[in-house]
Symmetry: C2
Subunit: 128 residues, 2 copies
DNA sequence: CTGAATCCCCCACGATACTG
DNA sequence: CAGTATCGTGGGGGATTCAG
């Protein structure tokens, strides 16, 4: 069971919400998980689809996800090195959560507008 | 439609996930939303159930949630002041998301363990 | 190719005090 | 009761360099 890194959470009934958020929000973890749902990926493959994430951050986030038991890190001892990241069974339990996030984002933010038809929605200037 | 406050999000298909996270994660927003799903609440009522949140932060988070159209702020012009926070219809669209977070937290973190029977799970030391 | 180590800036956030 | 204003700080995270 993953541990909570940050603040002391009060234990009012809603704290489970924050607990989950703490685990999946650590900056880019959401997207990383999302992509790993589809397929195992190498480090550089993740870098490519996440151009705004620095190498350092990507490494750190992957390490935390690994610590929490969400992903598996498979190291192939060869030159050049090859490391593959994949979801664990436990990581897959997050699927409904991540998909709920994805679905809402698609419906209600301009970031889901890619798949839509009306360019009139693109009024947010978040593409540069 | 709410706007994204922080980083430039790449637009790989998973960005909708991060976009949603940005909006609901802003520190304690998740819990705030969770509690407002149940009932309209006054400022101090929220403070009481969120003892770890400073007054300043609570105010800021509520303001952001209001800006994003998730909650409504009803001011009663009277002495002493009375302000009630409630979810908007738009805010209620987040319900499946928040509930997915809640459910996962209940199942997989010690913060959901309050309602469970087996004390063997309480090995995390997050209660004090 | 994957990753660790170092430097350093910035601002999110806490603490505290004041107000209508 | 429900906020604002101000100040100080910790560490999150970017840029860069080194390494196997």
């Amino acid at each position: 069971m993953p541990r909570i890194r940050h603040k002391s959470l009060d234990c009012s009934p809603g704290c489970a919400v924050e607990a989950t958020l703490e685990l999946i929000d650590g900056k880019w973890k959401g997207v990383i998980l999302y992509h790993l749902f589809h397929s195992t990926m190498r480090f550089n493959a993740l870098r490519k689809i996440l151009p705004n994430v620095t190498q350092r951050m990507l490494t750190m986030q992957l390490r935390e996800l690994e610590e929490d038991g969400f992903i598996h890190r498979e190291i192939y001892p060869q030159i050049p090195p090859k490391v593959e990241y994949s979801l664990t069974d436990f990581g897959r339990t997050l699927e409904p959560v991540v998909m709920a996030l994805k679905r809402w984002g698609d419906e209600h933010t301009t970031f889901g507008a890619e798949k839509k038809k009306s360019p009139a929605l693109e009024t947010q200037g978040q593409h540069g």
